[in-house]
Amino acid sequence: MGMVTESQFHVLAVDDSLVDRKMIERLLQKSSYQVTTVDSGSKALEFLGLRDSNESDDANAPSSSPVTHQEVEINLIITDYCMPGMTGYDLLKRVKESAAFKSIPVVIMSSENVPARISRCLEEGAEEFFLKPVKLADLTKLKPHMMKTKLKKESDKPAKEDSAVLKPEIREEEASVIKIVPLHQEVEQEPVLSKRKATKEVISTDRSRPKYNDITTSV
């Protein structure tokens, strides 16, 4: 299909329920993302290359670049809240406390609509909180968050494409409000960011897909 892998987004999905894992995996694939699923927070950390122990990674360690991180670049983590052992909230905290991974956007999913839980997660740095069952339309909210990290990386590289020229000023995590508007318009014109056939991967040609102009601003 001529997909250019480096322009694809890779999502790490975490859920202890097999049924829900299958669902989120398919939802993400249908939205043209690469997916890795794991069934626990500790496996997620392992995958990222963070140790699941008391030692907080990277923050104080002198030379620490998790080895596995080099192999797979994760653009977003989407996790269930209620999991045995490490909850989604715990995982969120671990990620945000890690110097290496705190820039990875994290989205929490939960079957329970508990306002206190939602605000707690958002305060801790989650980009979105999805109520389960998650629908295809919900996933359209993910793109802006992933673009933000992609853009940062693109503008860090020598500009071999136009992409680097695009929006170098969009780096700060808090700029989510600013970003949403311009990206919202751009979603329909994917080529601007990655000129190759990658267009097809991000804008699905499937009939049943909701259109991108349904994006609502994230919190």
């Binding site: 097999l18 398919r26 389960k132 069952p133 049943s208």
Partner: protein, 156 residues
Amino acid sequence: MNTVVAQLQRQFQDYLVSLYQQGFLDNQFTELRKLQDEGTPDFVAEVVSLFFDDCSKLINTMSRSLERPENVDFKQVDSGVHQLKGSSSSVGARRVKNVCISFKECCDVQNREGCLRCLQQVDYEYKMLKTKLQDLFNLEQRILQAGGMIPQVNIS
């Protein structure tokens, strides 16, 4: 040949609609169907199969937890109900999900009798749904074998 396909498609459509109307399925099942395409033609069947396996396992575990009146592990039962509610919600198994809601209430007040009734009901409902969906999938197969396409059915 065309009329055979059209007839089967009609049958399929009517059957599916009836499942929604009778409350076996809700909108989430529609969402599930959206995820299936030519590349993943068995997706729905796979997911619901996993769901039914889940039901069976969880019902067994909860049944054991509820077995002895003097020693009921309501925490365990609650965990089972939570999981069942979650997965039934994810696949659109409306009746199963609704029983789970009542089930949770019985669990919260540690009503063993109530729990047992709900357990029985949830068992009945998932098996009923399993039969219904099997019939639906069989219809799909017949359509495909007759050279037709599975209709997109819009439930609003």
